[in-house]
């Protein structure tokens, strides 16, 4: 699940860019205030969509659910910032179907409900366009670790009489023991900060996480924050 080379390369590139940025020459007109912000704290709610095409059918391979989180950033320059974040999502669900042969020749299809709940922590860098303005688009990337709690439930199912001499049956519900897995994923993000006061802002962003299978998680988030 952990794509270590990609993740390591991503982090190395991010840190290199941030280090290079720290050595930039100062412009002729300084837009930096006497007491520039050093920290950026924010909270958000968002919408998480996750790819489960390895489990779900084509028509049901992504689940989506509400998520929320917090972030803390440290400005290296007026444009570059390192940031850590933590997020927690509500449980999301997809379905899958398995054929069960009760009586020949036709199988019965039993539906499985897969419930996923993710929590994540991540670290990265971002580049914020413009300096000391009211509107700041940004782009960024980094690495996050996802903890995924996965439980499976097969609901009770009534199977009507399907042939003479074969009675109807009720298949009992089955609950499987939950599993917990961890994965490290590189991510990229973009969005904007819209300041509503000198040091308070609204922020919205889209973040996508990747694995060797492609995009695994996409989060749209909106929240509020402050520069300290």
């Amino acid at each position: 699940m952990i794509n270590t080379p990609i993740a390591a390369a991503f982090m190395a590139a991010a840190l290199f860019v941030a280090d290079a940025a720290a050595g930039q020459e100062r412009p002729a007109i300084s837009m930096t205030p006497d007491a520039p912000a050093r920290w950026d704290l924010a909270g958000h709610i968002g919408w998480l969509a996750s790819d489960k095409s390895d489990i779900g059918a084509e028509w049901n391979d992504w689940y989506d659910t509400l998520s929320g989180g917090v972030s803390a950033g440290r400005y290296l320059t007026p444009h570059f910032k390192t940031e850590i974040h933590a997020a927690l999502a509500r449980e999301g669900r997809i379905y899958s179907q398995d054929p069960v042969l009760l009586t020949a020749p036709f199988p019965v299809f039993r539906s499985r409900e897969h419930y996923f709940q993710t929590a994540s922590v991540g670290a990265g860098v971002s580049y914020q366009f413009f300096e000391n303005q009211w509107f700041h688009p940004f782009v960024g990337g980094g690495l996050e670790v996802l903890r995924e709690h996965h439980r499976v439930r097969i609901p009770e199912q009534f199977v009507p009489q399907r042939a003479p001499g074969v009675p109807a049956a009720t298949l009992p519900a089955v609950d499987f023991a939950p599993e917990v897995s961890y994965a490290a994923r590189p991510f990229v993000t973009t969005g904007f900060k819209w300041y509503v006061a000198e040091r308070a802002f609204l922020r919205t962003s889209i973040q996508a996480s990747f694995s060797h299978r492609g995009t695994t998680h996409v989060v749209w988030a909106a929240g509020i924050g402050a520069d300290l």
């Binding site: 007109i29 300084s30 520039p36 509400l66």
Partner: protein
């Protein structure tokens, strides 16, 4: 051949003369800035590529004093005229009708989908 050489000489002398007549860029911007009203909103483009919107504080003999328009106030900046690539009055005031409409539509669409997503999230 002689005619061609004479023609080239005339062109070169004429061109040189024309260059010699042009005043230094710094003098042009000084003269322009000194005719602007104090407090005017201006757009400045510097030779190093920096672009800034600012308020004109004073046009001195040597430098232009500007207050950049920023979210958090910054000190007044002193800009030598010879660093200026272009200087113009910024007539923009607030947001235009087009931007206002775009912002309104974007906010409305965002609020609609945001509410919709939250409603969907609450459905089991």
């Amino acid at each position: 051949m002689k005619f061609f050489a004479m023609l080239m000489l005339l062109i070169m002398v004429g061109t040189h003369g024309a260059f010699a007549q042009a005043p230094p860029q710094g003098d042009i911007w000084r003269a322009f800035a000194q005719k602007m009203d104090v407090g005017a909103r201006v757009k400045v483009h510097l030779r190093d590529g920096q672009r800034v919107t600012a308020t004109l504080i004073r046009a001195d003999a040597e430098d232009l004093l500007l207050q950049p328009r920023t979210r958090i106030p910054v000190p007044v900046q002193r800009i030598p005229y010879d660093q200026i690539s272009s200087l113009e009055r910024d007539e923009r005031r607030g947001i235009g009708a087009g931007k206002a409409v775009a912002l309104g539509v974007a906010s409305g669409v965002g609020a609609f989908f945001g509410t919709l997503l939250i409603l969907i999230a609450t459905i089991d």
